[in-house]
Structures are given as C-alpha cells and as structure tokens.
Amino acid sequence: MFKQIETAELGKELRMVVVDTIKALMDENKRVIALDADLGSASGWTTLEGTNKERFFNMGIAEANMVGVAAGLSLTNYIPFIHTFGPFATRRVFDQMFISGGYAGNTINVYGSDPGFAAGPNGGTHTTWEDVALMRMVPNSTICDAADEVQMEWIIRTFSQLRGIHYVRGNRKAVHKVYAPGSTFELGKGNLLQEGNDILLVAAGQLVYETLQLTKLLVQEGYSVAVIDMFTIKPLDKELLLAQSKDKKLIITIENHSINGGLGSAVAETLAENGCGIPLQRIGVNERFGQVGTPDFLQAEFGLTTDKIYEQVQPNLANLN
C-alpha cells in the first residue's frame, strides 16, 4: 500500500537511494553484484566497494562489455545490477541488451540515470528521450520510471527478486517527495493518486510531482481531475487505464521522454485498441534532440515544467467547455 505525502521537500538523492538499496541487497544476498562503467564517482556506486568489494566491478568506459558480462554473470546465477547514464544503458548497448540479455534468457537489472532533461550540463550527447521506447522493444522487459526516493528503493528491491531484463530510469539528484516512507507498490499496477471525472492525467517518473501541481491548478479552475502514477510503463496497467478513462473528456500523458514510443505511445495504443474515442494529448518531447543547459532550463525549454505543461493543455481545455 502506498501513501501520498503533501510536501514541497526534495527527497534523498536518487543515486544514493539506488546505492544504499543495492548495498543492503548485497549484504542480504551474496548473489547480488554491481557493475558500473566508470561513472561510479558520478553515481555514488564506487561506495559499493566498501562492504562488498569483490562484488563491485568498475567496467571501464565499455558499456557493451558491461552488459555482456552481466549476462554471463546471470548464467552463473548472479543477480547483476548495472549503471550508466540512461542513453548509454540503452541506446549504446541495445543489441547486447536485446540478444545477450533478453533473447538469451538472462537477467540484467539496469539503472539508467539522468533521463531527459536531468542530463543538464552534459548536454545532447548524454540525453535520452528514447530509452523507454528502445527498452519496450525487448520482449518481456520490465520498465519503470521512478517518481521519488521511496518508489526507487521499492523498484530496486523488487527487481532483485525477478528474472529478466528490468530497466529503471531516474534522476541522479534529489527529486520531490511523492510517497510516504514505507509505501509499497505493485509492479505493473499504476497508482491512482486522485480520482476525478473530467480529465485523466497519466504521468511517470519525476514529473508525477509536476502533474500533481498541475492538478491543483486545474482543480482550482473547476475541473475534476484523476491522476495515475504509471510508474511501470511496461507492462502497462491497461485495466486501470481503461477503467479510469471511462467517461473522461480528455486524457493527458506527461513524461520526461519522447511522446513517441514511451508512456504516451503505450497509453495511446491501449486506448485506440479498446475503442476509446476520447481526445488524448501527449506531453513530452517530439522530434527533438537534447541540448545543454541546467536541468531547470531544459525542463522549461522542452515544455515540461508545471507552467509549460499548463500552457500546452489550454487549447484542449478550451475544447472541453
């Protein structure tokens, strides 16, 4: 069971949530192993050397090899967690993930950090707005976008108990708190954060916070708004989506990702296949590469702040009235 909290506070840095959770898992289970591609200082993973040095490997700047080695570790019944920046954890190693990982029936747990605008000053080369789209194409993969620290910890813990290809994306830095400590979730089940009758907002990742802020604005204007945190993008919670889309006048997806291939696409496919003729607006990035700037600048530049999202939905709101 999850419990939402109302606060503007930032949580613990997500990278340290990942590190501390893996550290605990390594202590609990001698088969858990961690690999990083020379970003350990940026991800905090070098601190894993402290307690379980023999099960932390700095793989050097060689992501394809890291994925293959993880597959080989899976073949010797280890439970590998790997980290690099989101684009390098997916785009750069797609064939390795697909063949050595998925096709070969191996287990690889992946933390792709700093998705989308979180890449900030690292710029366009380090930006991924296509990681979810790529990972969705690996048959039977699991994909999560962590909304906050509590959810990130739960996701990492849950991945460690499963077999297969599991991908979680998340900022390295702190994001706003959404859930109370101790909240638990269900993989493949969206979290209905608010019920409402007019508009359905479906969000994932750190933009769940912005979506809740947007909700407040819309409610102030008299709309009745339902909100889903669709933290598991694959497998998508079609049941909840279809149930909540019933009788709505507008559905809006919100993601720090391309609107093509990610959450927005998954929602659109489900709605279309089930004959929902409800207007859908997908908020995200469309046909653009990343660029350099502070994360705040980029979030605004790519239309993903609460205010910018609010502006973008105005034409559709006008149609409702």
Partner: protein
C-alpha cells in the same frame, strides 16, 4: 599425448566434419568453412580437456564453451551429438521451423549450448561474465571462448579482452580461430588483422599460437595456458577455412557453402565416403 588418444581425437574431429557436411548437404547450404576449421580444436576440448557430463548438460560444475563465432553452430552441434548431448537424428532438423538447432547457438533450445551467440562479438563479454562468476564462486572450472578472426572486427571483443586481461581472468581461455577468411573474402583484404599474437600480447595476454589441425599442439598449448598464473591467456589457432578437406579448403567462397551444382555435390559425396572409410579404419585399429 599417446598415439591412441591422438587417433581417437582425430577421429572425433573427422566425425564433426562428416556430420557437419551431411547436415549442410542435406539442407543445401550452410556455414561449412568455419565449422571445419575448429574441428580439431573441438575434438581436443570435448574429447579430452573439458569437464562435462553430456547426460547432465547443466551440471553446475561443468566447464563452459562459448562459441562466440556462432555461425559455426553446425560444427558445434555435430560435436555435441557425437558426445551424446542429443540424438544424431536431430542434426537433420538444422534451421527447420520449430527446430532446437537454429543456425546460431541458442542456450535455451539446445542441450550442451552454454551461451547464446551469433550477434558477433557478444560471446566474448558473456564468456568474461561467466569466468567472473566462476572466479567469485571459487570454482576451478574453465570457460573456453572461441572467437572468429573476422569476428574480431567487432570492437566489443577488444572491450572484453581488456576486461579479461585487467582482471587476470585466466579461467577464460580465449581461442582465436585465425582461418584467414571472413564472409566477403580474406581477412587481410577486408580489415587487416595484422598479427593476432602480437595484438593479444599487447593487450596483456599470455599468448600461444599453434597449427589448427595439430591435435598434439592444441592440447599441449591448452595445458600450458592452464598453468599460467596471474595473466589472461589466449591461443591463436593458425587454421584453414574448410580445414581437413582439400576441396573445401581451396573452394573460394567457403564461408557459407551452397550445394547447388554437380561439382560440389560430387565433391561432398566423395568426401562423405572418404571420411566414413577413414574413420572406420582408424577406429578398427584403435580399439
């Protein structure tokens, strides 16, 4: 190695050739050249060096073999069938819809296949990962990683090699099948590999080079590599694509052979007859 063992292994190598040829001829095409070039190597590994239980393919304490040059799958399958991992009749199902013998090895389908390969380069890292796991578990098993010379065009191989060398994973025996040819022609013309032995030494490997059909030398080299401490190890196999059958050795395009004309079909038939006769004779002497 005594004469009897040499004979036994040479027979095993030729059985790999015979069954590969029969399988491919039956199918009408297939990766013959790179299967033949590792026949003696496979014979030494499966027939002598490897700790395996064919009746228990996933035995936890087995040595592993990663055929990173996955297109030599037919050669591997012929060996696995001869070792008793599955019935020889299965060989005729190669590449058929629904088969458990796909062109490129699939560990989820075929008994005895330890790693899924075929997307070239990837087996190197997978083998490195298996070696890492075995090392962490303090097991004394070996991983035999067979790479193609053309395959080493792939950058991932060199990522894996630097990893093996850095962590001194000498429980992974890297074997480069230097048969001098890749799909479109000679390796030296397509993407000059220069000297594999020097390259591997420069990467930090203790490296040996032997003739690809010299059973004694292959076996002795593997024994020597197993005695190396604190250093990654590599064997360069100076082999011939199509090795062991002059007709196929000299056939220009022998990567994937097509049995589509009288000349090649006659050569295949004659080879099958000759191999069967020669195997029978040697087995009779060797009882």
């Amino acid at each position: 190695m005594d004469e009897q063992t040499v004979t036994r292994l040479s027979v095993l190598a030729d059985k790999v050739r015979l069954d590969t040829l029969k399988t491919l001829k039956n199918m009408g095409y297939g990766h013959l050249g790179g299967s033949f070039s590792i026949a003696e190597l496979l014979a030494v590994l499966y027939g002598k060096q490897m700790r395996i239980r064919p009746q228990e393919p996933r035995w936890a304490d087995r040595d592993r073999l990663v055929l990173s040059k996955g297109h030599a799958g037919p050669g591997l399958y012929a060996m696995l069938a001869n070792m008793g991992y599955f019935d020889k009749s299965m060989l005729a199902t190669l590449n058929e819809g629904g088969t458990n013998l796909p062109s490129h090895p699939d560990r989820l389908k075929t008994p005895g296949v330890d790693a899924t390969t075929g997307s070239l380069g990837q087996g190197t890292s997978v083998a490195a990962g298996i070696a890492t796991g075995l090392r962490l578990d303090k097991k004394d098993n070996y991983v035999y990683l067979i790479c193609g010379d053309g395959e080493l065009n792939e950058g991932q191989c060199w990522e894996a090699f630097q990893y093996l060398a850095h962590f001194k994973l000498n429980n992974c025996i890297v074997i480069i099948d230097d048969n001098k040819k890749q799909l479109d022609g000679l390796t030296v013309d397509i993407m000059n590999p220069f000297d594999f032995q020097k390259k591997m030494e420069a990467f930090g490997f203790y490296t040996l080079k032997v003739k690809g059909d010299d059973i004694r030398a292959i076996d002795a080299a593997i024994e020597e590599l197993k005695s190396v401490k604190d250093q990654a190890v590599c064997l360069v196999l100076d082999s011939i694509k199509g090795q062991g059958v002059p007709y196929f050795e000299t056939l220009n395009d022998n990567h994937s052979v097509k049995f589509n004309n009288d000349e090649i079909n006659q050569a295949a038939e004659e080879t099958i007859v000759a191999l069967e006769k020669s195997i029978k004779e040697r087995e009779q002497v060797n009882v």
